[in-house]
């Protein structure tokens, strides 16, 4: 049985710096959920310097690449164009420390994450289990996108495996 590292949001710089590829982590606290439709909108506002007006603090946070529907949550592929291209702005300008999804990401994304002391983690698509570990859910921006809006959820013991950290990838 693998050792599981406990993490609670917001993550400190030290907590992320201690992670290495292959670690299994248990994520607790508030995390954000968004995917193809909403992530480019967040990046646009971060780049334009207007994100702060929303009063949503992303620093030390997790962005989980999922829709939030009555069926629950589950990771979509993080290497989709709109999702992987959001990593840099979300980490550099927004302070996101963990991108949570599935699938292999590009070497340049792995490098960028290391430069910003951020990580990419893979979470199995275990919707029923995740639903039993989701304590709260709230739509916090762009409700017109429905299940693809930006959500903030409170989670307990979401297990994930570190797939990219410190310039290394689990897919090497």
């Amino acid at each position: 049985m693998q050792e599981i590292k406990e993490l609670t949001t917001p993550f400190s710089e030290e907590a992320i710096a201690a992670l290495k590829v292959g670690d299994v982590v248990s994520i607790n606290g508030y995390i954000f959920c968004g995917r193809d439709a909403v992530l480019p909108r967040i990046c646009k506002e971060l780049k334009e310097g207007v994100w702060e007006k929303r009063g949503i603090d992303l620093r030390g946070g997790v962005i989980f690449h999922t829709a939030v529907s009555p069926a629950g949550v589950g990771p979509t592929s993080s290497n989709k164009l709109e999702i992987e291209s959001s990593f840099e702005t979300l980490s550099k300008s927004g302070g996101i420390k963990m991108h949570l999804g599935k699938g292999a990401i590009k070497p340049e994304t792995v490098k960028m994450l290391a430069e910003n002391n951020a990580a990419f983690a893979i979470i199995p698509p275990v919707t029923a289990l995740l639903e039993s570990q989701t304590l709260e859910r709230e739509c916090v921006a762009w409700p017109e996108l429905g299940m693809e809006a930006l959500y903030r959820i409170k989670v307990k013991n979401y297990q994930a495996i570190i797939a990219a950290a410190k310039g290394r990838s689990i897919y090497e």
């Binding site: 292959g22 299994v24 069926a71 275990v126 919707t127 289990l129 429905g146 297990q159 689990i170």
Partner: protein, 290 residues
Amino acid sequence: MPLLKGEAYMSDIINKVADCLVRAGSTFREDQKAAYRKAIAEEANGSACWVMRQVLDNAIVAENNRSPLCDDTGIPHLFLEIGKNRTITGELLEEIKEGVRMGLRKLPGRPMAIKGDDYARIDQSGGLIEDSGALDASPILIKSVDEDVLRLTILMLGGGPAIRGITQRVFHKHSVDVVIDEIVNRAIPAVSQLGCSPCTLAIGIGRSQFEATSLMMEAMVKGDFGVQNDFEKRITDKVNEANIGPLGLGGKHSVLATFAKVGPQRASGVRIVALRPCCCFEPRRASVDI
């Protein structure tokens, strides 16, 4: 089966179909659980074991709560088997459709029906319908069987495997080995790109795209993780040699099983092969006698 259909009988069919859909979307069959337990016991890669334990734990929670195994709850695909003394009426088909609608609301299915005309449905510009029950099932596949049954099987087919599925010809060169090698060559990148593995490979081999896909559907309806013929086992073993592993994290269990159905073949040098890399929850299926 009663000749006259009263209200109670009709509602009984709707309820049975709805319950069948919920089971399909929320329940691992025993052979599926056993396949996972066996793979976990035999897998040396720790990350691969962790993924497969998570998938199995998820199945237990989903079954207990009758809740979706995956947030992509899938598109209902219907397979109806009918014995020679049974009848299918337009009324029965309407009841099945109503049962599907009710089941999607109960599961609940992810609201995935697209609004609008042909163009709006293609580019998704008209938005989504919020009602889970608005999702149309695929056309029903009907097969006559040598049993006294009218049996409906519901498959819930997710989007990831649909993206990576391939239906294409193989020039067989009068060799089964050539066909197997081509299937393996197509399956390895498909399994690798799918992400949500370990997979089950569903395969149909026929004379046209329609027939091959129909046979692949039947393979998903009838496949058993505990019963693998030589053809299926050879494909599974060869794909597993690629060491892709669950979620692509490495390990020898990229594929848990292969469900293949070989139909009648054309007198020619070509075979049409339909291949679907079913995700770690698929085939999500349940059957009911109606």
